[in-house]
Assembly symmetry: C2
Homo-oligomer: 389 residues x 2
């Protein structure tokens, strides 16, 4: 026990990758608030407030709205394993890493998975889902709203219609959309939606918001077998978040403080203004990148995520050297490509508190420097113009 590690003093970073995103100072301060007990009436009130604020951002009136005690990945696993029983058929749409991961999670838990695959950089088509549902009586169709690996925004309305016509539940990964892009759980007929706190919500990674429609709860309550996991059992988590207030696990007090504060910021800004801000900063970023000759990985502008832009690594550029240079010279973190995009694309997140004009302009100028791009001026001008359009 002689090694000494010194004071915690990380080098400042501007987090413009796929998450965690930048955190507002008042959210960070909330993390350091002294603890209440996890059954203290004051704490239960803070949970209730968080729940109400989550319903607003999910755009739902679902009673069963809660936080799974883990990161977005815990949300994914909880959403899936509570939605089916071993041996059930489910359909999973795959057009990136997180669709693949849903397949992994569902198969481990004993689901019979039918895949619907689409090319990376494109969206899944309703016809594909229809066809899959003609071949199998699926209990659930799972799909990613905002694919963090590809930057694709998945249209949901038509797929929701198809899924419900087949009598299945619609399960949607909203990890990179919630709080930055309309999720509209009720309007779109989403039955199960989950997210993470560290993307557009603007809180530290830790909790996974989860909401379930009345139909999803009914299906859950009609299960013939217990959920394979106690920790991720939505019924057990609801016993704590709902009126019963039973002990499930020790609440992540400080992380709930932070999430509540982040949700209050959303309430103050207003959802529509927040969505518009995310869209405007993304459009400015893309205008700047394109003016500098860079190419978005998602060809169709309508499918580009407001919260996460994938851009192809230009010919002749060294992926790792550029990302390393951004960190070393500017303290800026962007994400490398994942899976099929490894070494081929960068992932730029403009999420929550990080979705700011100043971050767009700084990143464009830093990329221009590191790429020795001769059209930086044009890029900055194009980005600026996007704010006055």
């Amino acid at each position: 026990m002689t090694e000494s590690y010194g004071t915690l003093s990380p080098t400042p970073r501007l987090l413009l990758g796929p998450g965690p995103s930048q955190i507002a100072p008042r959210v960070l301060r909330a993390c350091a608030t002294p603890l209440l007990g996890y059954l203290d009436p004051e704490y239960l009130t803070l949970m209730d407030q968080t729940q109400t604020l989550l319903r607003t951002v999910f755009q739902t009136e679902n009673a069963w709205t809660m936080c799974v005690p883990g990161t977005g990945m815990a949300g994914m696993e909880a959403a899936l394993i509570n939605a089916f029983e071993p041996g059930d058929d489910i359909v999973i749409c795959v057009n990136g890493v997180f669709g693949e991961r849903m397949v992994n999670v569902a198969q481990r838990a004993g689901a019979r998975v039918t895949r619907v695959d689409a090319e990376w950089g494109t969206a899944v088509q309703p016809d594909q889902v229809s066809e899959a549902l003609r071949g199998v009586k699926a209990k659930v169709v799972a799909i990613v709203h905002a694919e963090t690996s590809t930057g694709v925004l998945q249209p949901l309305e038509e797929i929701s219609r198809v899924v419900h016509e087949a009598g299945a539940l619609l399960l949607v990964d909203c990890v990179t959309s919630l709080g930055g892009i309309p999720v509209e759980v009720d309007a779109r007929g989403i039955d199960i939606a989950y997210s993470g706190t560290q993307k557009c919500l603007g809180a530290p990674p830790s909790l996974a918001p989860l909401t379930m429609s009345a139909a999803a709860v009914e299906a859950f309550q009609a299960r013939k077998t217990p959920v394979q996991s106690f920790y991720l059992d939505a019924g057990e988590i609801w016993r704590y978040w709902g009126p019963e207030r039973a002990y499930h696990q020790t609440g992540m007090i400080n992380m709930l403080y932070a999430l509540r504060e982040a949700l209050l910021i959303i309430q103050e800004e207003g959802l529509e203004a927040r969505f518009a801000r995310h869209r405007q900063n993304q459009q400015a970023l893309i205008a700047g990148l394109e003016a500098m000759g860079l190419q978005p990985a998602v060809a169709d502008p309508a499918l580009r995520l407001p919260s996460l832009t994938t851009v192809l690594v230009p010919d002749g550029a060294d992926d790792q050297a550029v990302r390393g240079g951004l960190i070393a010279k500017y303290g800026i973190e962007i994400g490398g490509g994942m899976g099929k995009y490894a070494g081929k694309a960068w992932r730029i997140g403009l999420m929550g508190y990080g979705s700011q004009r100043s971050n767009v302009m700084l990143l464009l100028s830093a990329l221009g420097d590191l790429l020795k791009n001769e059209r930086v001026d044009e890029g900055l001008a194009a980005a600026s113009a996007a704010y006055t359009a």
Copy 2:
């Protein structure tokens, strides 16, 4: 979105229940430190430091030492489901709520569970474990080191010998012992141990330290079936904590900051001094309670947990009124009884930063007030004497 919830400003609490425990100011401040990315080299260094500090407090040289991304309950579930495959026989010792919960978790995951039951307030005997292991070829024997529901400290040495003679792995719940009581993973031959951050370690609830012996890792790697959970798969978690640095989930950055800071405090204090402090404050508390005529729920002094004292609610006292009065008049939280002890015992935690002489004296005087106890002076004197003994 019109309801306004106001500023986060919880009423100050002195947390002397079963957890979360009091958090040192510097650990709280660490929570509010701006984030690094979860694969930032600086962050990976902080993870490595945390891992080294965890090995010290677990008293182990196990390579596989990591944090499960969830509370102590996630640690329990991860420890169990990585240790057996569906259909395997396991033995679970039950003498309180957390042993019961291990049975629940293991049965959901498909284990064939043989129970070894002992009375609440007592320890499990090695002979009981021997007998169970004669009846079944168990892969794992699971037991709770510090039963938070009863206040019993479970002796492990003899049971460890019995378990290993039978060729089984020893799995130990150290949630309420790690950082306050010697765990001695290597010396006692513990194969799998898990804990939580919010008890004697003195960090907020969020992460579950987990360590696995070479034998446990070998058994894990020889599995014929994948672990049912991706989120809690020790191999996947190790891919992030070990040399590979693969993406498993977004690290709980701020909570790791806090845990590292709490572990540094332990390093500075020294394990032996810390164990002695926990023991001394508990002895003072018990001396005070007994002098006031209250009776510990655990009859055998050798089995009383240094970190958590259970005391019987005295005849004529109103459980809820006393605990409510402690909160309302003094801001002190203690725990009510769980399970068989509901309404019959109180649970007083003196853990980590909360294990302080001033807290002992304040609690005794507050209890004296609320119980209208006429021997408070004797209680305080007895407690004081314990510090000079």
